[in-house]
Symmetry: C2
Subunit: 211 residues, 2 copies
């Protein structure tokens, strides 16, 4: 990365952190882009250059995450279910709860999408896009599974991600990052993904006759 690119990446990260701090303190709906610009000591236009809309300040990794979901499902090894392919990403989300500074976590997506109805709505649209990305990967890797069935399986996978993300958000808001809580999240995620692992095998077995 050149000096110019590094400077841009730093500015972007600084703006996102300042925004997270304001969202943490006052809630997403109560903070304007102008507030963020003032606190970050940059112009409104600078914010818009990095984050075209206000929700991008919170959902700025959405596209990257969605592509990652699609990629791990598409590039999974033969015999690996979509649930198994997604498992490391879900566990990584839980792990981040332990590692992230609490004051930043409170201003970020899992917590704020429980606090802000506006953000919740954007999040639902993003969940749809995630399900569509996984459906496309399933169509590419398991063409014998009809689209409507692949879409239902993708929706179930995204529901598990969403349930865990919401539980992480609730934990952040409650300032609870205790070991028992983390253990329960890992247990729930594993349990649900194990079910979807079995489910997908039974679906493909019924279609192809292969165990």
């Amino acid at each position: 990365m050149g000096l110019r690119e590094r400077k841009k990446a730093e500015t972007r990260e600084r703006i996102a952190d300042v925004a997270a701090g304001l969202f943490a303190a006052r809630g997403y709906d109560e903070v304007s882009v102008v507030d963020v610009a003032r606190a970050a000591e940059v112009s409104d236009q600078t914010i818009y250059n990095y984050f075209p809309t206000k929700q991008d300040l919170v959902l700025d990794r959405a596209e990257e995450i969605r592509e990652r979901y699609g990629r791990v499902v598409r590039e999974r090894a033969t015999g690996t279910s979509p649930a198994a392919a997604l498992r490391p990403l879900v566990l990584e989300d839980i792990d981040r709860l332990r590692l992230e500074p609490p004051e930043l976590a409170r201003g970020e997506f899992p917590a704020q999408c429980l606090v802000s109805p506006v953000l919740r709505r954007f999040a639902l649209e993003e969940r749809e896009r995630q399900a569509d990305a996984i459906t496309a990967s399933l169509a590419a890797t398991d063409p014998e599974v009809p689209t409507i069935v692949a879409r239902a399986h993708a929706a179930a996978l995204v529901s598990v991600v969403q349930t865990i993300t919401d539980a992480i958000g609730a934990a952040v808001l409650a300032s609870d990052r205790s070991d028992p809580l983390v253990a329960r999240l890992i247990h729930d995620a594993t349990d649900a993904l194990d079910d979807l692992d079995r489910t997908f095998r039974s679906v493909t077995t019924a279609r192809t006759g292969n165990a």
Copy 2:
């Protein structure tokens, strides 16, 4: 129903039909509540008395439908899967495609939620509420299934409903209500619900040891 109630029900239905006609002709986003009031020859306030928000003109049966999904899953017979309990409702939606006057169908939910981004967003929120209603019914009838697993199964069921509703909407917009199309919709719905029937049995069998 008394005379007063019957008159109210008639007014309500007339407003909804006038709105559907305008939405069909110009698209949901291009029609205001004032436009509907003028075309129906009633005051704006009358419209709001029957339909508190504009989206209620299209989503006015949403609550009833959601409660019905929850109820058929909650009240299903022992040994009947949630997918089997929902099947008649999905087939009824497909049947309506054959029976409804095309000019009204074009202004109603399945078609308009493909045309209007605003309505699409409301529809996504309603899908969430449907999944929550089914999850609550599963928790009431199958307490051994963890909530995260029940929620994933409910999301898969709602995804099937959504895929079929979208296909109905696309058919309405394409003015296609041919026998082969209807047969394909019935086939797809049955296929996907059969999978979810097997899936749910395998989930509960794994938990309870009962076949």
